[in-house]
């Protein structure tokens, strides 16, 4: 089917559609109200809950930071704190940016450009998160062991640390490889879209 044939069929469909006026005021109001509710419920979902958990963890560390009495424990604590505060904030910021594109005044090209760029930033943050997960996995145990049990695992590493790292690796490595590949594919498609837009 060539373009001209497609246009004929399209015109026929348009005429049929123009003849049926079925969208009522009530239906429009219903749709918009449902949408508002959905928007609010989405904000309170996954990302925000994840961030709350992270911030709670960060608060616990801040309140007990004086217990991290050596430079290496303090360094580990600061890394964990930074992870728990900065990463969720960045991810939430990018998600918020993606949902706040000016759809009414942007052209199609502008929206595609902005959305694709913000999606790329979001994916980059996710990839940084995946890498940081490995450091977090190694460092969170000595930090929590010191905070809650007063034990310095760096000086006297117990078998629990090795077990913990071993088990976490078992889950984290395949999950991270899967996630990283997925993000890579998504970023590549975003890049293709960007290069196509600049042609």
């Amino acid at each position: 089917m060539n373009i001209e044939e497609m246009q004929t069929v399209w015109l026929e469909m348009s005429e049929k559609l123009d003849n049926q006026k079925l969208l009522t005021n009530k239906l429009i109001i219903d749709m918009t109200q449902v949408k508002f509710k959905r928007k609010i419920s989405i904000i309170s979902r996954y990302e925000s809950w994840g961030a709350v958990v992270c911030f709670f963890g960060a608060l616990l560390i801040i309140l007990n930071i004086q217990k991290l009495d050596t430079w290496y424990l303090l360094g580990s604590g600061i890394f964990v704190l930074a992870y728990l505060i900065i990463l969720p904030l960045i991810v939430l910021k990018y998600i918020n940016q993606m949902t706040s594109i000016d759809l009414a005044n942007n052209t199609y090209k502008q929206s595609l450009l902005v959305f694709t760029k913000r999606r790329k930033q979001f994916l980059t943050a996710q990839r940084v998160g995946i890498i940081a997960n490995f450091f977090l996995m190694v460092l969170i145990l000595p930090v929590s062991a010191k905070l809650f049990n007063g034990k310095d695992l760096f000086m006297s590493p117990g078998p629990e640390w090795l077990w913990f790292i071993g088990i976490m690796m078992l889950f984290l490595v395949p999950f991270s490889v899967w996630g990283y590949r997925k993000y890579e594919r998504m970023t590549a498609s975003a890049e293709n879209m960007l290069s196509d837009l600049t042609l």
Partner: protein, 162 residues
């Protein structure tokens, strides 16, 4: 609301172009209506209402709706609108399926352009809605035509071979 009601056919066509299933179509349709309703007060009147409407609808199709489609309740439109085109004429629907089959092989940018072309828009209007230059639109349309022709040749070759 009047603008939305007057252009419900356009909203339907855009929703159908960017989705594959009836559920997704229903969902995108509602998202477009919502975005049009929400952003009408920002319409400055510097362009035609139809240009603004196409922009909002196309922009919505490429960005927001997908993130939300799995959550929450939806207004059931099945008995009101989206079922209609499939019902009115099975011959037309078969030909329409062929049209959408062609459209579905295109990427997001091309989909937007071909949709506007099928809507009978001139290159200048497509350029105004999409933000590309008219000459760029011309280049892209000829690229789309080539792509479709290649696909057509390939399909004919496969059919002849079988």
């Amino acid at each position: 609301m009047k603008v939305i009601q007057e252009n419900e056919g356009i909203i339907y066509k855009i929703a159908r172009t960017y989705t594959k299933t009836k559920d997704d179509r229903n969902d995108l349709y509602q998202e477009i209506v919502f975005q049009l309703w929400k952003s009408f007060h920002t319409f400055k009147g510097t362009s035609k209402v139809s240009t603004w409407l196409y922009r909002v609808a196309l922009n919505t199709s490429i960005s927001q709706w997908r993130k939300e489609k799995k959550y929450g309740q939806k207004v059931d439109l099945d008995n009101l609108f989206l079922k209609q085109p499939e019902e009115y004429d099975s011959k037309l629907e078969n030909r329409l399926s062929l049209v959408y089959e062609q459209i579905n092989q295109l990427n997001k940018i091309e989909k937007g352009i071909i949709l506007l072309l099928l809507e009978g828009k001139k290159y200048d209007e497509i350029a105004e809605i999409t933000g590309f230059s008219p000459s760029n639109i011309g280049t892209r349309i000829s690229r789309i035509k080539t792509k479709m022709k290649q696909r057509l040749n390939y399909t004919s070759f496969r059919t002849a071979k079988n």
